[in-house]
């Protein structure tokens, strides 16, 4: 007889094991039917995707910001330097003389002389400042020296260099770029902490959004769930379509988040690239790569399924067959 009745007399209703093919079949059906359901209610689905997308985009965006700040900081950290600005109309020969003396100091890797014209060129590369420069007739930028320290330079070397520079004639200002570095470092750790906090909050938000959307989907298909329960669907089978709901919502949200971020990057990339270029940095923003996309999609998937699991457990367990 069917269902193995004669085979196992003691257990008239053995737990059927359809094997991997039946399991895959059930997953395929659940995935396809849920996809149909989601696409038939595109308005609702779009709204959920947007909500989840925004929730994911904020922490992911902060992550990207932090990665780039660290990259900038890290690149500078390898070659900290001192900028020495001369008074207006200072004699370039004075600068050369100071440069030669500094070059002889221990811990100095390189001394660069930057003429006002070169400084203007770099400044223009900032972008957006062109209008401000146009207002000034003369080039307001001073002659300067940039001292790049070797990695072996000690704090004492730096102090010696600063003393030499400050005592030299016609020197207006001596700036240690280390202070900037520290600020970038602090900023990036601030952004990192803010990012983790927001990631936690918005992650919970994304779970709640998918949970409540899946809950609505369950209510909409309550009759079907009851019928399935009546004809002997296991809890896993009842849950399955709704877990796919969560997966679709989560992954869709992650796609929206990726789109929002790439849009944001398109908007901020030109000025950012210009800024980086003026500091001899690579011309690319970092972090928005395939790995980042895969991780974002996976996080969306996990959060979506988690939300669906919450919703399904709560609702389906309390449900009677008809």
């Amino acid at each position: 007889m069917a269902f193995g009745f004669s085979r196992r007399r003691r257990d008239p209703w053995p737990v059927q094991r359809g094997g991997i093919s039946a399991w895959l079949r059930d997953h395929g059906r659940a995935a396809l039917e849920t996809l149909n359901f989601v696409s038939r209610r595109l308005g609702t689905s779009l709204l959920v995707w947007l909500l989840v997308g925004i929730a994911l985009a904020l922490p992911a965006g902060l992550y990207l910001l932090q990665v780039n700040l660290t990259a900038v900081g890290g690149a500078w950290e390898g070659r900290p330097g001192v900028s020495i600005y001369f008074d207006h109309g200072a004699d370039p020969k004075l600068a050369d003389a100071l440069g030669e003396r500094l070059q002889a100091q221990p811990g100095v890797a390189l001394v660069e002389r930057i003429t006002p014209a070169e400084a203007l060129e770099q400044f223009q590369a900032f972008g957006g400042l062109q209008d401000a420069l146009d207002l000034v007739e003369d080039n307001p930028l001073p002659l300067s020296l940039r001292v790049v320290l070797s990695p072996a330079a000690t704090a004492d070397d730096l102090v010696t260099i600063l003393r030499l520079a400050e005592r030299a004639d016609d020197v207006d200002e001596v700036v240690v770029e280390k202070t900037w570095l520290e600020r970038v470092g602090q900023l990036s750790s601030l952004v990192r902490r803010l990012g983790s906090m927001l990631a936690l909050l918005f992650g919970v938000g994304a779970v709640l959004v998918t949970a409540s959307s899946v809950r609505l989907a369950i209510e909409a298909r309550l009759e079907e769930v009851r019928v399935m329960k009546l004809v002997g669907a296991s809890d896993a089978q009842l849950r399955r379509p709704f877990l796919y709901f969560g997966a679709y919502y989560g992954v869709g949200g992650a796609v929206v988040a990726a789109m929002l971020l790439s849009l944001a990057l398109i908007v901020i990339e030109p000025p950012l690239t210009a800024l980086l270029a003026s500091y001899d940095q690579p011309l690319k923003t970092r972090g928005f790569d395939p790995t980042f996309l895969i991780v974002t999609l996976s996080i969306g998937l996990i959060l979506g399924v988690t939300g669906a699991l919450f919703a399904a457990r709560g609702r389906l367990n309390r449900l009677d067959a008809l």
Partner: protein, 248 residues
């Protein structure tokens, strides 16, 4: 294989209402029984206990010698796959075609699509609705909808078939057709229990009649004297494979 035994089964609801009082009944495998009584007599509770939607407050409910009220959550679904159920409200899914509705229990059982097609068409042939497999429930008459519900209940070829007021919304002639259908499924060896308040119709069926009143058995008449006839047909006997093929 669908022997059912109620042993001292009582059901008391939380509001204190006692729906069944120490009911002792045995339904032999392959038997057919009509359950009657006024509304509120306990018919629905009786069937819900059999489907494990409710559990007895006291007593034992044995199916094939297994106490079904003690089935674990994991095994309960597998018991239900062997029990077909038909209700007054057929509970068809409006967004699915007749074919898809009947296919639900087969998909739940993990059957492959090709086998599902065969089983669904066999079930629809038996209820005479093969030509309407692509319709939606709303496009069918009430009687046809009920027959789709029956096709869904028997698609898995269950050992036990139970029905709660399956003719409640139908006129007398349609009701007779439906009851004849249930008899047909009994003839393949399925244990059939039909709850109905339509006493006039039941009496003409020539099967065991049990009457409940206020939760107790007040009448148990069996014109067959407890003898269960041997199955006179098989699930496939009426449905020649060519018929199924032709309908595609």
């Amino acid at each position: 294989m669908g022997t059912i035994q109620f042993q001292q089964v009582s059901k008391r609801f939380e509001n204190g209402q006692e729906a069944l009082k120490s009911v002792n009944l045995t339904f032999e495998s392959g038997s057919m029984t009509f359950l009657t009584g006024h509304s509120g007599a306990g018919k629905s509770t009786f069937l819900k206990l059999l489907l494990c939607i409710d559990r007895p407050s006291r007593g034992q409910l044995l199916v094939n010698d297994v106490n079904i009220s003690k089935l674990s959550a994991r095994r309960l679904p597998h018991y239900r796959r062997h029990v077909g159920a038909v209700f007054q409200d057929h509970h068809l899914l409006a967004e699915r075609t007749v074919f898809e509705n009947v296919a639900i229990p087969l998909r739940v059982a993990g059957m492959a699509d090709r086998d599902i097609g065969r089983r669904v068409r066999a079930a629809l042939t038996r209820v005479g609705l093969l030509s309407k497999e692509r319709r939606y429930p709303a496009q069918l008459s009430t009687g046809e909808q009920q027959r789709v519900g029956i096709a869904r209940a028997v698609a898995t070829r269950p050992n036990i078939l139970i029905a709660d007021e399956p003719t409640g919304n139908l006129d007398p002639e349609l009701s007779r057709d439906i009851m004849a259908l249930f008899k047909q499924f009994n003839q393949v060896g399925t244990t059939v229990i039909v709850a109905s308040h339509d006493l006039a119709l039941i009496e003409t069926m020539g099967e065991r009649v049990i009457e409940l009143a206020e939760g107790s058995v007040v009448r148990d008449d069996d014109p067959r004297g407890g003898v269960v006839p041997k199955p006179s047909a098989s699930w496939d006997s009426d449905v020649h494979p060519a018929v199924v093929e032709a309908a595609r």
